[in-house]
């Protein structure tokens, strides 16, 4: 390798070339090591490009020879050429990776945000953070999810950010979030200093519909703290803090997890001083009071309803004389007169649509035309009421106050009106005084003028910890609360992505056999045959 003849300019050019190559290499190494376009990478890249430029300018022939690999005498030329190409490839890759150019080919537009989601994201004004816990084993899943979550970040111009934590490396943090499984996602508001506001952290459910899960979580986060639900506590109601089978701690927790605030309320005490329900009361839940309400108490409720309040009444079959919402009681009368809705002193007996005994009523029919019952499909998610009270809606309701039934018993059922006998001996039989089925056990009313809403359920066990997870009970409760508080209006949206899910396949066994024959025998066979023909023709040639 005799290089003495080479003129100085070329030599200088070559030095620039080496510097350029080294710069590009450093940039690449830096990019990998620091996983990002850091300052160091930028500087190295600039040096690399300048070096290459001067190389090309000062020693064009040399440069050309290197690039095209024509300078074969020097194996370094090939190596350098390879490194140069590697640098160019890496650079292109990094640039494209930063640019995030994607094309969503899925039919359901899985990696695009629906207009509904965009509408929800438009309402985001404070920074939120999506926190994903993925162990290294879920790298692939993480990347897939990240591509989706990234859309949220882009759409909100960075208001929503993403962070990923390895639960195995940071177990303390995982515990802080109470991570229960690998790949779990959380959504929280971010404090001004950039730290996570753990008081707002909620778990993002994971189902088939990723967009609904995430957008729903964001929507819940948006309205969290703006809705308060009050539980009546002064008439022996079921305890929302009681975690036994009879208690209601489950639904209380569920409401809170949905971003709503729950508060106790002492109706008796407030009524005695002529007070009112707080102005922030989005709903007032009467979880089976044992005793009926006084005039002053009814007045409190009346005032609340008139300013657009919402009442969730759970009323059981009770056997005491002063039972809550007894048929001829004042409160029942109030409901009937003002909202066309009342409870009957009758226990539903259903020999057809029931579980263990004819008193364990399974919903026989559901009117799914209301927002409450939209998800209550009697086939898949029937409600189960253990000892249900019949309720009634007026066919001639007060003006501007439409009402409706939700859950019905079977036509073979009847309403046992002899509650005394039922309570004392637990016996029942159909007699002429009883009410012929089908009977309503859940009904609603809505005053279009005031906005007052009432949901009346002839049962309270369904929302207890022991029963709430049975069938559609939890749906009835949560969707009922959602309707009452208006929560549903804010978070309910139909993401277009899953409006048209892919249909399931239904193929007969015969077709399957035919397909198997074509794909496993015919196709490979034909190819083999072609090969055989080609082979024999060759052999003869």
């Amino acid at each position: 390798m005799n290089k003495q003849i080479i003129i100085r300019q070329t030599q200088v050019g070559q030095w620039f070339g080496y510097a350029g190559g080294a710069g590009l290499m450093a940039a690449l190494v830096g990019f990998i090591a620091q996983s990002g376009l850091t300052e160091f990478v930028g500087i190295a890249l600039t040096i690399g490009l300048i070096g290459l430029f001067f190389w090309a300018a000062l020693a064009p022939a040399d440069f050309r020879a290197f690039v095209s690999g024509r300078q074969m005498r020097y194996s370094t030329g090939a190596v350098f050429g390879t490194l140069l190409l590697l640098g160019v490839v890496a650079l292109t890759y990094v640039i494209l990776q930063r640019a995030v150019i994607t094309l969503d080919m899925t039919e359901g537009q899985r990696f695009s945000l629906s207009t509904e989601t965009r509408a929800v994201l438009n309402r985001v004004v404070y920074p939120m953070r999506i926190t994903g816990f993925y162990s290294p084993r879920l790298l692939s899943q993480r990347e897939i999810d990240d591509q989706f979550f990234r859309l949220y970040e882009v759409e909100t111009d960075g208001l929503i950010t993403r962070e990923y934590i390895d639960p195995e490396q940071q177990p303390a943090l995982a515990q802080r979030y109470s991570v229960t499984f690998d790949g779990e996602i959380f959504l929280s508001y971010v404090n001004a200093d950039g730290s996570t506001d753990f008081s707002t952290t909620t778990r993002v459910p994971i189902s088939e519909s990723q967009e609904r899960d995430m957008t729903g979580a964001i929507a819940r986060q948006l309205i969290s703290g703006t809705l308060t639900v009050y539980f009546e506590r002064s008439h022996g109601e079921r305890d929302p803090l009681d975690s036994t089978q009879e208690g209601m701690s489950g639904i209380n927790g569920g409401i809170q997890e949905s971003g709503l605030i729950t508060q106790p309320f002492d109706l008796q005490q407030v009524a005695s001083v002529g007070g009112d329900l707080p102005t922030d009361a989005s709903a007032f839940i009467l979880a089976r009071p044992l005793t009926d309400f006084s005039d002053s108490e009814i007045a409190v409720i009346d005032r609340y309803l008139k300013r657009g309040g919402a009442l969730f009444i759970m009323s059981d079959v009770l056997f005491n004389a002063d039972a809550f919402l007894r048929q001829d009681g004042k409160f029942n009368q109030f409901l009937w007169n003002n909202y066309g809705l009342r409870a009957l002193d009758a226990a539903i007996v259903d020999p057809v649509s029931s579980q263990d005994t004819p008193l364990d009523i399974v919903s026989a029919a559901v009117y799914t035309d209301s927002a409450i019952a939209a998800r209550l499909d009697s086939g898949d998610t029937p409600t189960l009421f253990r000892l249900a009270r019949a309720v009634e809606i007026s066919s001639n309701p007060p003006a501007n106050t439409p009402n409706g039934r939700i859950v019905l018993s079977s036509p073979q059922s009847y309403g046992e009106t002899n509650l005394k006998q039922l309570g004392e001996t637990n016996t029942y039989a159909f007699d002429p005084e009883d009410i012929q089925g089908p009977l309503t056990s859940v009904a609603w009313a809505y005053n279009q003028k005031t906005g007052a809403k009432i949901l009346l359920v002839g049962d309270s066990d369904f929302a207890t910890n022991g029963q709430v997870l049975t069938g559609g009970n939890s749906i009835l409760f949560t969707d009922g609360v959602a309707w009452l508080t208006g929560y549903g209006d804010q978070i309910n949206y139909a993401p277009q992505a899953y409006r048209t899910g892919l249909p399931l396949m239904f193929v007969t066994g015969q077709t399957l056999d035919a397909i198997a024959f074509v794909t496993v025998i015919l196709m490979p066979g034909l190819v083999l045959l072609t090969g055989f023909i080609v082979w024999t023709r060759r052999i003869r040639a």
């Binding site: 074969m72 005498r73 060759r538 040639a541």
Partner: protein
């Protein structure tokens, strides 16, 4: 057409080709003659651009083999020592492939022409794997000629084929000289003598001698070679007698006579006749021996080894 200047190829300290220089004019058939390992194949590979020289240069048809490799390759037809074929192609497909690769216009017609010339036209649909060794050799030749190159380089084209085919190939090569410059390597002297206009003898990568077969013979015949047959003397006595003659360097029994090598001087034959007769023997035969190239070659090699 071929102009080789100080061409060298070294592997480490071993010089496979050592400062080789020669020329071949248009239309000349030049033979590279040498034993195995003399550097013939390496030289040819350098000329065809398959491997680069370590030093020196060569021009073919005016193009430098390194800087204008592509132009050189366009003008050279090359048949490597072991005819490289694709066994699963047909004869025609194979030739046409090379024709296309070398940018021959009207490749189909050229293919047929060249196959005709090597008598393979009727086998054009045959798979190469089914061809005999000789046919493959001719196929290789066809491949080297299909683009009608000004320079044809053939590396031992007659090796490993039967005698009848050897003659055919030699005739083909001879005939090529009419239109092409042919560089042709062999380790068989008689072949070079028959085929070549000019022979270059190389060993250990160096040229030992070059010239037409006739001049080589002339130049290299180092002295007189005579055949002497004597009657009336025992073999040993005859040999002793001849060896004593002034100028005689070597006496070897040959048949019923002797092969005498002697320095060139005046009246050698007269002296021989005189001494034989003086010793009382009869001189039956005394004639000069025309040395074959083979003899010269072996002679040269022998001297080199000794040196």
């Amino acid at each position: 057409m071929i102009d080789v200047q100080n061409l060298s190829k070294t592997y480490g300290t071993f010089a496979a080709v050592d400062r080789l220089s020669f020329k071949a004019e248009a239309g000349e058939v030049v033979g590279l003659l040498g034993p195995n390992g003399a550097g013939k194949t390496t030289t040819m590979r350098m000329l065809t651009g398959f491997m680069p020289p370590s030093a020196g240069s060569a021009r073919i048809a005016g193009y430098d083999i390194l800087n204008d490799s592509l132009e050189v390759r366009r003008r050279v037809g090359y048949l490597p020592e072991r005819v490289p074929v694709y066994p699963d192609m047909t004869v025609q497909g194979y030739i046409q492939f090379w024709a296309n690769l070398r940018g021959v216009r009207d490749a189909r017609r050229q293919t047929e022409r060249v196959l005709e010339s090597v008598h393979l036209l009727e086998r054009r649909k045959t798979l190469i794997r089914n061809l005999s060794k000789g046919m493959r050799q001719r196929l290789g030749l066809a491949q080297a000629l299909v683009h009608d190159p000004p320079v044809v380089i053939l590396d031992e084209p007659t090796i490993g084929i039967d005698p009848q085919q050897v003659i055919e190939v030699r005739q083909s090569v001879r005939a090529l000289g009419e239109k092409h410059t042919v560089l042709f390597s062999t380790h068989i002297l008689s072949e070079a003598e028959q085929v070549c206009d000019r022979v270059i003898i190389i060993n250990h990568g160096r040229i030992l001698a070059q010239g037409t077969p006739a001049t080589l013979r002339q130049q290299l015949q180092p002295g007189d070679h005579l055949y002497v047959q004597i009657s009336g003397a025992s073999s040993a006595a005859g040999q002793r007698l001849l060896a004593e003659i002034e100028g005689v360097q070597q006496v070897q029994p040959q048949g019923i006579g002797f092969h005498v090598r002697a320095a060139v001087r005046a009246n050698l034959r007269g002296d021989i006749a005189q001494r034989v007769v003086q010793a009382g023997y009869q001189l039956e035969e005394l004639r000069p021996v025309a040395m074959t190239l083979e003899d010269i070659f072996l002679d040269l090699l022998g001297r080199e080894e000794g040196a």
